[in-house]
Symmetry: C2
DNA sequence: ATTATCTATAGATCTATAGATAATGC
DNA sequence: ATTATCTATAGATCTATAGATAATGC
């Protein structure tokens, strides 16, 4: 998705555009219902791409949807990452990641809907927030910022809780999701060993200058 | 699934048997891959049921898989519930629910695989462990056993963490899942406001006489 | 000239139903 | 006699490909 590499000629750009249109259509479907049973014909139609072109880029629907999920997760992770640039304290990074995810729900609802409709295992396996949180947990333990029994368990709880937060946003629109994210960050930081006061201060503090 | 009602005549029992065979086949598929694109023919074949019989019981595949998920979640919730009979302390109930879920992974792996392959929203919406944990959280807050900022957030974290625990069992077979569940219970009880010592004692204590 | 896209279609598969068969109730 | 199951099949849909068309490079 992030077209960081400038493609050399018009051929390649056109090809990349077709592929991207297919991926975007697949992302829309993942966000809307998560139901991947739409026909290739319907997907190509939604992408405004000739039916046969699909096979120029993907071997199967499964293939496309796998790429589409990875694409969304990568964008998710990078969006959070760049907004946390310069934040070093792992506690602040974790809290910031949760709270920024809540803001992404407003600005990039498609990504959050995709998260909701995906299996936790697939989300965590990818390049989303999960590997970034893992680094924060490890670093926090190494620097004694966190006093936690087991990093694997702590990370599992964080991943699951993040998913549950996003799910909360989707299923209960009346909830103030920014508030919910801050509260979630607070209880999770406490879980990681910060005192209630510390957890409160970090979770309710200003949300990084970079935002 | 729990055939609590004795059906009056052989007709109804035969009919119920056919339906159950279809539901069991659907549960198998949900557990194996979660891929609901198998044809009705294939499902009926797996259930060893005539193809047309499907339509005597369900209007669509979607229908069947919805029932199958509910069926598994109901069994899950009841299995935990009966093993927690007589346990009154909400902290013990929550810890017990997590730890017993880990044991169910050994004794009823199908249910746990279904959980892993399902969306969190669907799991929590159903009649599984989620509504039971909600009661425990409410009761624990009412009795001041838990000092937690927000019950909705706490419950979300619990639901998500439970899912993550099951996911851990599926994706990393080398992990001692009983240990992991106890550790998860410990950190979550701490999150709910118990002191580290209390949380440790409750989470590592004997797992209810009823088991 | 080369490459990607688009159109048309063959063949496979899937859904839903209609009618035949088998099991049970009374 | 009634009801459920099973078998066979019509019609719809879907996948994958082959060949025609359009766009670009050199």
């Amino acid at each position: 998705m992030p077209m960081s590499v400038t493609l050399s000629n018009r051929f390649e750009r056109r090809r990349a555009g077709t592929r991207q249109a297919l991926v975007r259509a697949a992302r829309q479907i993942l966000a809307e219902s998560g139901d991947t049973s739409a026909s290739i014909q319907a997907i190509a139609g939604r992408a405004d791409v000739g039916f046969g072109s699909f096979y120029n880029h993907f071997d199967s629907k499964r293939d496309l949807f796998g790429v589409a999920l990875e694409d969304a997760m990568e964008e998710f992770g990078q969006a959070i990452d760049e907004r946390l640039h310069g934040v070093d304290d792992p506690a602040e990074r974790l809290a910031g990641g949760l709270r920024l995810s809540a803001r992404l729900a407003e600005s990039h609802p498609e990504i959050m809907r995709i998260v909701c409709h995906s299996e936790l295992g697939r989300i965590c396996a990818g390049r989303g927030l999960a590997p970034r949180m893992r680094l924060d947990v490890e670093q926090g333990i190494a620097s004694d910022r966190f006093t936690v029994v087991d990093p694997v368990i702590a990370l599992s709880a964080l991943n699951g809780s993040l998913l549950a937060l996003v799910e909360l946003w989707l299923s209960k629109p009346q909830v103030d999701i920014d508030q919910a994210a801050a509260t979630m960050a607070e209880v999770l930081l406490h879980m990681l060993g910060l005192s209630p006061e510390e957890a409160h201060d970090v979770a309710r503090g200003p949300l990084s200058a970079a935002v």
